[in-house]
Point group: C2
Chain length 188, copies 2
Amino acid sequence: MIVRVLKYAILGLLYRQEYSGYDITSQFKKEIGQFWSAKHSQIYPELRKLVDEGLLHFRTQIQGEKLEKKMYTITEAGRKELLEWALSPEPLPETEKDAFMLKMYFIHTLSQEEARILFENQLQQRQEKLVHLKQEYEQLIPLFGEENTSGAMHFDHPHLGHYLVLTKAIAREQSYVEWLKRHVHLLL
Amino acid sequence: MIVRVLKYAILGLLYRQEYSGYDITSQFKKEIGQFWSAKHSQIYPELRKLVDEGLLHFRTQIQGEKLEKKMYTITEAGRKELLEWALSPEPLPETEKDAFMLKMYFIHTLSQEEARILFENQLQQRQEKLVHLKQEYEQLIPLFGEENTSGAMHFDHPHLGHYLVLTKAIAREQSYVEWLKRHVHLLL
DNA sequence: AGTTACATGTAATACGTTACATGATTCT
DNA sequence: AGAATCATGTAACGTATTACATGTAACT
């Protein structure tokens, strides 16, 4: 079951608009970066590969005086392959890697105080991230449409994808924080 | 920030008892596999590397008539490096990859019905996994010690690590299921 | 006798990060 | 003038999966 998720992440980003390699790199630093990302050193070769495979094409655009940038567009073949992937049911990963939880599995290697410090550090980081994500959410309510108004979220809303990943990221961090809080007493 | 988490996963497993490469592979199929794992093709070369680095040594044991297996033990240097890693605060990953959520970000590529099928499929898989994890938890209550009895979980409990990863995996799946249930109405 | 589990390795390939390398444009 | 951002690429290395390869031991 070979997947090449980066391929589909790029095709998906180009589904609605054309982007440069740099733009794609930037997108992975925004909301979707919570669930998928790649460095520019992986993106540029992948873009070339997708062009070679006929799933993308590009035009060269001049920025300012002479800075060339390549604007990529998805082809019909690209849309077809994207749809095929998007439609396929996603199996659960056997392992969702989490180095902090690996350390917790080996908690007996630490003293109670050492474990407590590590645990409270993780709690603080997760809480800070949660605050940050909630702030992002609050700022985007006007874009999403407030609850119980004519602008509420619905399937055809242009920012449904954004809304889903943000609420999911918040749920993930909320759950992490609650689990940490529920179990910190074991280390006190 | 070079990490080599597999190295520490192996050292951690060997902290309390000796294991063969096969045993380590088996451990990654049990509870810790929720948060870290590796295939035998990655484990065997890593074990060799750790021996070369003086963090492990092994003795050859005969199983049955002539089947040789290598039983690995952690060295003092190995314990030292493991502790160093275990003590270091774990930074949050920027990205926690989730291909299903990537598909949800691109939900506008699908029809409402296609999206609903995908979403309900994920909900079912996550619910099944949650049931399975809860069953594991129920079976382990005697090992963990029931709540509000003299056998309740505490820092020195020999299965605290196991308890933590199981409760965390349950929390993760519970949160996933709840998020899916909270948002499925957008696709109906 | 046949199947499953135990047991160990290597080869080829794919995926991902860090470092190397260069230059233009925009903002302060 | 200097810093941050925009812009694109390659090289080296590390991590991880799939496939190849072989053989023993235990269970039914």
